[in-house]
Amino acid sequence: MSESAGPLAAATAATTPARRHLRELGRDGATMAAVAVVLLFALMALLAPWIAPQDPYRADFLRRLQPPAWIEGGSWAFPLGCDALGRDLLSRIVHGARVSMLIGLLVVVVATSVGVLAGLLAGYLRGWVDVVISRLVDILLGFPYLIFAIGLMAALGPGFLNMLVALVYKEWVLPCRVVRAETLAAREQDFVEAARALGASRRHIMLREILPNILSPVIVVATFRVAYVIIIEASLSFLGLGVQPPTASWGSMIADGRQFLLNAWWVSTFPGLAILALVLAINVASQGLRDVLDPRFAR
């Protein structure tokens, strides 16, 4: 038969889209390096209790503001030095990665789920559902992120769970906007009409027909936002509104060190570098991911 599958179809049949994307990612050196850094931080967060050289909570006033190992007075048992309470900085940074990674991932996962659902509903159902959701999005976008989070944290009180709530409260807006716009385009596609003609329900069309087709931009936005949420978390913790002491968080560690900046620069600098490295790595990695998933933006 003239229309049967040729050898080309047989050859491509073995590779799923996901596998092809992964292979493309592998060719990009900068992206791979960034992914490696992110994985390193993730591993660090995961294995913190086993790889941290010291107990991050054990204060020792004899080691107060002890400098890093390579400076006069430092020791390799405390490679990055100690803070004002004599706690090992490296161990606290390793443990602090848990807070940053967990908040970053949790907030983005929850917010993206909420945003995707809201965006699908607004974009597919239109009408009053769209009006309500879109106006809510507009209102939330009107507030500066950090101010909004500070206000919410002040109202809710500090703590891990409250921070999660405060960040999700605004974070869902962005994926919602992206999904709504993509849904508006996707709902006009022939395959949506075809599915309707064969009796597909609205829920089915939203979740099974449209969602798989708009997943790429959602994934890209979500990865970018992890970095942003990590910065917001650090900012809140810096202001004392985040996770509470003695839990180690990079933001609060920077805050702890700022009064000693002149004579013990390392207390603030190393957690700051940790934030810089992780956020930079996430951004570069998501840039690479975007180039693969969304060829329109390829460099």
Binding site: E3, A5, A9, D190, A195, A197, A200, P212, N213
Partner: protein, 327 residues
């Protein structure tokens, strides 16, 4: 005999800033069980919109404003949306014009054919494993029936891995997996190579016999319809201008538009004949009431044409909407 599908006085209008557009304006049609009805007309004549109205798929600003649609004797215009959804794909299924875009690029073909089945899960066994097996068996069966070679192994492939003809076959499988009583095939061959077109039309004919269903074949090609259908309805500007048995319409076309269509088809048995196009084109303004819709392009136009023209019966179900041409 009650028809399987009867459309009575159907009107579907679109409210636009420029005024009301009468996309479908008073259609009466019947489809008997098992028969093949051809629906011909040019772009914008309302043939697709009439059947989208039957399916309940007209989108705003379009609206069915009047008429009755009787499916198996029941007026479905009054049904709740959920009840109408239950009919789509199960009792009456429609395939869309462009097979290349009507399949979801992000789902495997197996998933897409299974979707129709899942939407109407009435006769599937309960229990996950048994259900999955039953769905898979029926998907493989229907894909084999529509002529997809090696259907069992290709369930996990995506639409882009198939040729246009194969994709059209998969589309048809999606529509037929629940064994509907009527298949509305909207321009099933438009997006395909000429060599594949005949195969797809043959397939639709085979499926019709195999499953004992009625087929409404929407096409702008009178030749295709003449070859495959028993009856034809010619659409123009939202109305049926002529309807009847294929033989009657081909041998004794009674509407100037139908005659124009026949004269504009090249013929193998008379190669010296000139092809005469119909002058002018169909515009929304032609759908105004109070005059013959074909007035602006008709060589026979005369004062009596400036009135609403009723369908006149010429016998044997041959009906025409013209006051000038009377045998």
């Amino acid at each position: 005999m009650t028809a399987l599908l009867a459309i009575e006085g159907l009107q579907t209008f679109f409210a636009t800033p420029a005024g009301e557009i009468r996309a479908v304006d008073g259609i009466d049609l019947e489809v008997a069980a098992g028969e093949c009805l051809g629906v011909v007309g040019e772009s914008g004549s309302g043939k697709s919109m009439a059947f989208l109205s039957v399916m309940g798929l007209v989108r705003r600003p379009g609206r069915v404003v009047a008429g009755r649609i009787l499916l198996q004797g029941e007026d479905i215009l009054g049904l709740a949306p959920a009840a109408r959804r239950g009919l789509r794909g199960r009792v009456i299924a429609m395939t869309m014009q462009d097979a290349l875009t009507a399949l979801n690029p992000a789902l495997t073909v197996g998933e897409q054919v299974a979707e129709t089945l899942e939407a109407h899960a009435a006769d599937l066994p309960t229990g996950r494993a048994a259900r999955r097996r039953a769905v898979r068996a029926r998907v493989v069966e229907i894909l084999g029936l529509v002529g997809l070679p090696d259907a069992g192994r290709r369930l996990g492939d995506y639409p882009h891995q198939f040729s246009g003809g194969m994709r059209q076959r998969i589309m048809i499988a999606c529509a037929l997996v629940c064994r509907p009583r009527i298949l509305v095939a909207d321009e099933p061959t438009t997006a395909l190579d000429v060599t594949v077109q005949a195969q797809i039309l043959d397939l639709i004919g085979d499926m019709r016999r195999e499953l004992g269903m009625a087929v409404v074949l929407i096409s702008h090609d009178l030749g295709v319809v003449a070859e495959r259908c028993e009856r034809v309805a010619v659409f123009y500007a939202g109305q049926v201008v002529e309807t009847g048995a294929v033989r009657d319409i081909l041998d004794r076309p009674a509407h100037p538009y139908t005659r124009g269509l026949l004269r504009s088809i090249p013929r193998l048995d008379d190669p010296g004949r000139r092809i005469e196009p119909i002058p002018g084109q169909l515009t929304p303004a032609d759908a105004r009431p109070g005059r013959c819709r074909f007035l602006s392009r008709c060589a026979l136009a005369a004062p009596p044409c400036r009135a609403d023209i009723a369908l006149a019966d010429l016998g044997r179900g041959h009906r025409v909407r013209c006051v000038r041409l009377r045998p």
